[in-house]
């Protein structure tokens, strides 16, 4: 069974600073990988996803993520954070066989200082 680890519960950055949120997964092969964002009081919205091909994936709102097979990681990055990026971020992994239900990480709460 797959699993996802988001090692950082909270991340605090200043507006305009760069951001990297970490995600590590455990799965026997290359999984499907997702990043979702949850704004306060809202449901989750897909930021980006990786299925195959180019390991650097571009998403909405200026986010990107890089799949690194050797590190079993799929870290989310943004070069310059805006105050509106403050939210909860979830990494998720789905297997290429068996259940297609994604497994979500525990989430990382992003706090943005002015």
């Amino acid at each position: 069974a797959q699993s996802v680890t988001q090692p950082d519960i909270h991340i605090t950055v200043s507006e305009g600073a760069s951001l990297e949120l970490r995600c590590n997964y455990s799965y026997g092969a290359t999984p499907y990988l997702f990043w979702y964002v949850q704004s306060p009081g809202q449901g989750l919205q897909l930021l980006l996803k990786y299925f195959s091909g180019d390991t650097l994936v571009q998403g909405i709102k200026g986010f990107e993520a890089e799949f690194k097979r050797s590190q079993s990681s799929f870290n989310l990055r943004k070069p310059s954070v805006h105050w509106s990026d403050a939210a909860e971020y979830f990494c998720a992994v789905a297997s290429r066989g068996g259940s297609y239900i994604p497994t979500f990480g525990r989430g990382t709460s992003l706090i943005v200082h002015p």
């Binding site: 499907y32 997702f34 979702y36 949850q38 009081g41 809202q42 449901g43 989750l44 919205q45 897909l46 996803k49 299925f51 909860e88 979830f90 789905a94 297997s95 290429r96 066989g97 259940s99 297609y100 239900i101 994604p102 979500f104 525990r106 989430g107 709460s109």
Partner: protein, 116 residues
């Protein structure tokens, strides 16, 4: 033109009561889900329906019963509510037929259930 909608948004009730949460999606998706998000933001799958048929039923108390009258609706009924049921419940949908296992899920805004 909301894609996935849930009602109510907030639900406050007493222990022992029975309540329902409704979910509707207008995306034409074939699969719908219920998730529970606890106070630590951990998101756990509860049920999944594909074309009105139950396909995933994780270990949840049988006080929780999903009902799918058609492909666009998946309601969650909870009997004999307990304090531990307090959480945010999210409905989601996806299109397994077209996207297969690489399925992007579209989430509703959530229903915050508080059991007193």
């Amino acid at each position: 033109d909301t894609a996935v909608s849930q009602t109510p948004k907030y639900l406050v009730t007493q222990m022992g009561n029975d309540k329902s949460i409704k979910c509707e999606q207008n995306l034409g998706h074939d699969t719908m889900y219920w998730y529970k998000q606890d106070s630590k933001k951990f998101l756990k799958i509860m049920f999944s329906y594909n074309n009105k048929e139950l396909i995933i039923n994780e270990t949840v108390p049988n006080r929780f019963s999903p009902k799918s009258p058609d492909k666009a609706h998946l309601n969650l009924h909870i009997n004999s509510l307990e304090l531990g049921d307090s959480a945010v419940y999210f409905c989601a949908s996806s299109n397994i037929r077209t996207s297969g296992r690489a399925n992007e899920q579209f989430f509703g805004p959530g229903t915050r259930l508080t059991v007193l």
